[in-house]
């Protein structure tokens, strides 16, 4: 079996266990952060795709059914005349009920409400000018109609997503920074503990790179193993969150499929941590030793 030879008993010392545990926690946090960011991006994409190039036209319930029917027919006629409209369809009552049920409860309650007519419009292409023109035409002929092109809502959602991306990125940077600090202090501690052994190595001809190599190999192993331990913690936590999220009514949150790249990133996390630990330890040791006589 492959065994890494070390001239110090680095494997079992206190700082090794300390770094292993902290790396596991950091990877756990980073994995959750990356997953949340990936979920949010996928959610934004799903919403974006579902509303881009669409309009929602709401015709409020008027003083009488006749007015509502007339307005509905007029709007449909105006829409069907246009070449830049792909389709225009009224959302059926049962579909409306399904959308409202998570908020309002039973169908009996919904039936008593003066619900508007909702018309779903899909444009040939995502064209802000066309959407604006259609809105003006509808409003001029049916002043009570409320036209929603989702742009404002979309812009806010995009802003939220960008903000969350930055927060997730900041979280990952903080995690990496914390790892660097942990490795620096753990390495310093070990160097102090093994000062005499290091002096012996120098006396028999070891360069600083030889000493640094032993510490950096240990850090690499700790980083990778700690990282996988963090993923082991992450799996049940993520599974639990997914299970709880699946219980939310479909009308409130659409189903999202997390991208394959996410799993690649998660699996890469332990190796990234290991690599960063290794480099940090190497630099730390060389720096401290260079200050000695």
């Amino acid at each position: 079996m492959f065994k890494i030879r070390a001239d110090f008993p680095l494997r079992g010392d206190t700082s090794s266990r300390f770094v292993f545990g902290l790396v596991a926690i950091l990877v756990f946090m980073a994995a959750l952060s990356v997953t949340a960011q990936s979920y949010l991006n996928s959610l934004m994409d799903t919403w974006n795709r579902s509303v881009t190039g669409t309009l929602s036209i709401q015709i409020p319930a008027g003083s009488g059914t006749g007015d509502l029917d007339e307005a509905r027919s007029l709007v449909l006629e105006l829409l069907h005349e246009r070449e830049d409209v792909q389709s225009a369809s009224i959302i059926p009552a049962d579909e409306m009920n399904a959308l409202l049920r998570p908020w309002l409860g039973s169908d009996d309650v919904i039936a008593d409400l003066p619900l508007p007519v909702l018309i779903d419009v899909e444009l040939v292409s995502a064209n802000d000018a066309a959407a604006e023109e259609i809105s003006e035409v509808i409003r001029s002929r049916v002043p009570t109609a409320i036209i929603e092109d989702h742009r404002v809502w979309l812009n806010r959602i995009v802003g939220l997503a960008e903000g969350m991306n930055m927060v997730a990125l900041a979280a990952v940077i903080l995690v990496l920074g914390a790892l660097g600090l942990i490795v620096v202090f753990a390495t310093r501690s070990s160097l102090t503990e093994y000062t005499q052994a290091i002096d012996v190595l120098h006396i028999v001809g070891a360069r600083d790179s030889y000493v640094a190599g032993q510490f950096s190999r240990r850090s690499l192993v700790q980083g990778v193993l700690g990282g996988f331990a963090g993923l082991v913690l992450y799996v049940p936590a993520a599974t639990l969150i997914a299970l709880l999220a699946s219980r939310i009514e479909e009308g409130m949150l659409p189903k999202v499929v997390l991208p394959l790249q996410l799993w690649g990133i998660l699996l890469a996390l332990p190796f990234i941590m290991g690599l960063l630990s290794m480099i940090t330890a190497n630099i730390t040791v060389r720096h401290i030793l260079s200050q000695k006589n």
Partner: protein, 236 residues
């Protein structure tokens, strides 16, 4: 011993040369004053003097644990005043140092302690195994290869320390009381090892209080007294 091959190298000057060297610790008085001496190649010296005279300090200069506060120190022709750490490490590979307190690595076995200089210099495992085994056998510790130093007697530890110092065929051997913890028979065997290495080209400096040992061998002595070094001829 097969591992004791002749020294190679093209440098013809003294192994070590000190010119007006002074050494002090922090702001204290100088422990070595105006030391000027040459250690020729293939020379053998005893280093004598009362306790606190500066023997250990002189040794520490020679194995580059310290740099002189003034004067010049040349080792194998290299001025060590401003050499970088890598160069200092490379010079130390040509040294063999035996400490009075052994300075073995407690978590390594006897074998691994002796193998250390060879592994550091990149020697292959097969050569390491052959040389270290032979050397441990020569110092009478072939049955203790896997033993940790803490389980061994002072004399056994000293033999391991000596084996570690000579395994790399150093050009300069610095020994601080190498026979202090062993019986006469082992002491003579160890001295024979030093003499053998000397014949094969190593310079040897042995710091000792043992006047009987000094008088038994025909080698000159460097006598230190209150920081000053005097070269004295061989006793015989």
């Amino acid at each position: 011993m097969a591992l004791l091959r002749k020294n190679k190298g093209n440098y013809a000057g003294p192994t070590a040369k000190l010119e007006d060297v002074g050494l002090q610790y922090e702001d204290g008085p100088e422990v070595l004053k105006d030391v000027s001496l040459e250690i020729p190649q293939k020379s053998f010296h005893f280093l004598t003097g009362p306790s606190g005279a500066g023997k250990t300090s002189l040794m520490s200069l020679l194995y580059l644990a310290r740099r002189p506060n003034r004067g010049q120190l040349n080792l194998f022709g290299e001025d060590v005043s401003n050499i970088n750490r890598n160069k200092a490490a490379d010079l130390r590979r040509r040294l063999g140092v035996i400490f009075q307190d052994f300075r073995l690595l407690d978590h390594l076995s006897a074998f691994d302690n002796v193998a250390l200089p060879l592994r550091i210099s990149g020697t292959s495992d097969s050569v390491v195994s052959e040389n270290v085994s032979e050397l441990l056998k020569w110092v009478g510790l072939e049955d203790y290869m896997d033993a940790k130093p803490s389980t061994l007697s002072g004399g056994q530890q000293q033999r391991i320390a000596i084996a570690r110092a000579v395994v790399n065929r150093p050009n300069l051997i610095l020994a601080d009381e190498p026979t202090g913890n062993v019986d006469d028979a082992i002491a003579m065997r160890l001295m024979q090892l030093f003499i053998e290495l000397h014949k094969l080209g190593s310079s040897v400096i042995i710091a000792t209080h043992n006047e009987a040992l000094v008088e038994r061998f025909p080698f000159p002595r460097l006598h230190i007294d209150r920081g000053n070094v005097i070269l004295m001829p061989a006793s015989l």
